[in-house]
Symmetry: C2
Subunit: 241 residues, 2 copies
């Protein structure tokens, strides 16, 4: 089973200056790739908190993606935090330095040189047509926080994470959870490999509860749906997908 954790680094999200787009984007992408996302943590631009979260993400998932804290300013501490989490030094990547020298010439100051800093032993991948490299260390991929750049970076490496798909079905009921609960319990007990979720609505939607069935075994997912359906009156089901 392939699993992932996402670590969003940024005071701007915690202080509500910006609504995070990267967590939801990575959740959608990972899901489409068959990777199970196990946690999202959003922490401030503070080394100890980033390192602590990195360790936890590494302990709880196979792949870790960080978002944000990359760049030349004082609040960009992700590279240093990843290095420290792995007990590595921060070094200058030579390929990135050559590009920076070509681009900035005499204007290559200390701040711009920080763009070449990576944890020692990191993989630094340049892709044709893109300005910035994707940096990774072991199973941690370090992505920029600007949503357009994060999307671009992830798109260049996404296929390496693809595994067998997760199948998902849903039934929509005009009954409440108070009536459905015992039938859900029976379905959960009978199909332990299927993830079953129950989502009530309290608005003008056409249904009161959506029940979802998720799993890597398509036959089991379908059987769980049929099992629950058979326990309830036909007219209780509004629709399915």
């Amino acid at each position: 089973v392939s699993t992932a954790a996402v670590l969003v680094i940024g005071n701007e999200i915690l202080s509500a200056k910006v609504v995070d787009e990267n967590g939801p984007f990575l959740a959608r992408e990972l899901r489409a790739l068959g990777v199970e996302l196990r946690r999202i943590e959003t922490v401030p631009d503070e080394m100890p908190l980033i390192i602590d979260a990195l360790w936890r993400c590494l302990a709880s998932a196979q792949w870790v993606f960080t978002s944000g804290g990359i760049g030349p300013t004082h609040d960009d501490v992700t590279i240093a935090a990843v290095a420290q989490a792995f007990g590595r030094r921060v070094v200058q990547d030579e390929a990135t330095m050559r590009l920076l020298r070509a681009r900035y010439g005499e204007k290559l100051n200390a701040a711009r040189m920080r763009l070449a800093e990576v944890p020692e032993g990191a993989r630094v991948e340049f892709h044709q047509g893109y300005l910035f490299p994707v940096i990774s260390l072991d199973n941690v991929t370090i992505l920029p926080g600007v949503p357009s750049l994060l999307r671009e970076g992830f798109s260049r490496i996404r296929e390496r994470f693809r595994v067998a798909p997760i199948f998902s079905r849903a039934l929509y009921f005009n009954l409440g959870e108070g009536v459905l609960a015992e039938h859900l319990d029976a379905t959960v007990a009978r199909f332990p490999t299927v993830g079953i979720g129950s989502y009530p609505r309290f608005d003008e939607a056409d249904h009161r509860v959506k029940v979802t069935f998720d799993g890597r075994d398509q036959t089991a997912v379908q059987a769980a749906l049929e099992f629950l359906r058979a326990r309830l009156p036909v007219e209780a089901i509004v629709r399915e997908d």
Copy 2:
């Protein structure tokens, strides 16, 4: 200093069936109340992960808000997790039971009775005109995951969290971070009580970098802004707020 942590509980968010609205909503509300949000964790509907996250949230902030996992079905485990995190039993709240009996009469089944379950010693607050109570235990407030219900619940208690406001200003530059970095470093060193953030843009916006100044001391926030402004040419600044 008043601080908070938000714990979002829900497989549906990690599996990208739903984009979380509650984390961003609470971030905005807490900010408006002067409360500093220190972390947001999003975890699955699994007791051990919820308990572990609760302990961490409690250790890192004064107030903890949970979102989701409340209700009568198998995937609603937040009440049990909060109880276990505090070493308490789960008990039936009498006031809630009376309401449930009045509402459901003979149809009050085991699933619906779960709506009355609370950690022992919890505060269960009914407010005029609302159907469900707000449940809290010590400094943990347990909110429902349905966004309209979470907002409603939070609105009834929000004023009790209000403290002195956090002031925020911003300068917008047509220069890049590579040029600004040394001036930001000088400003950060001079104004240690002001939180300074630097946010580059790579799109068609009117500016290339937004620099933010945050703090509880309005004079220091303004002085930090003036200090940075004075170090750069007038024409480098596009606007301010």
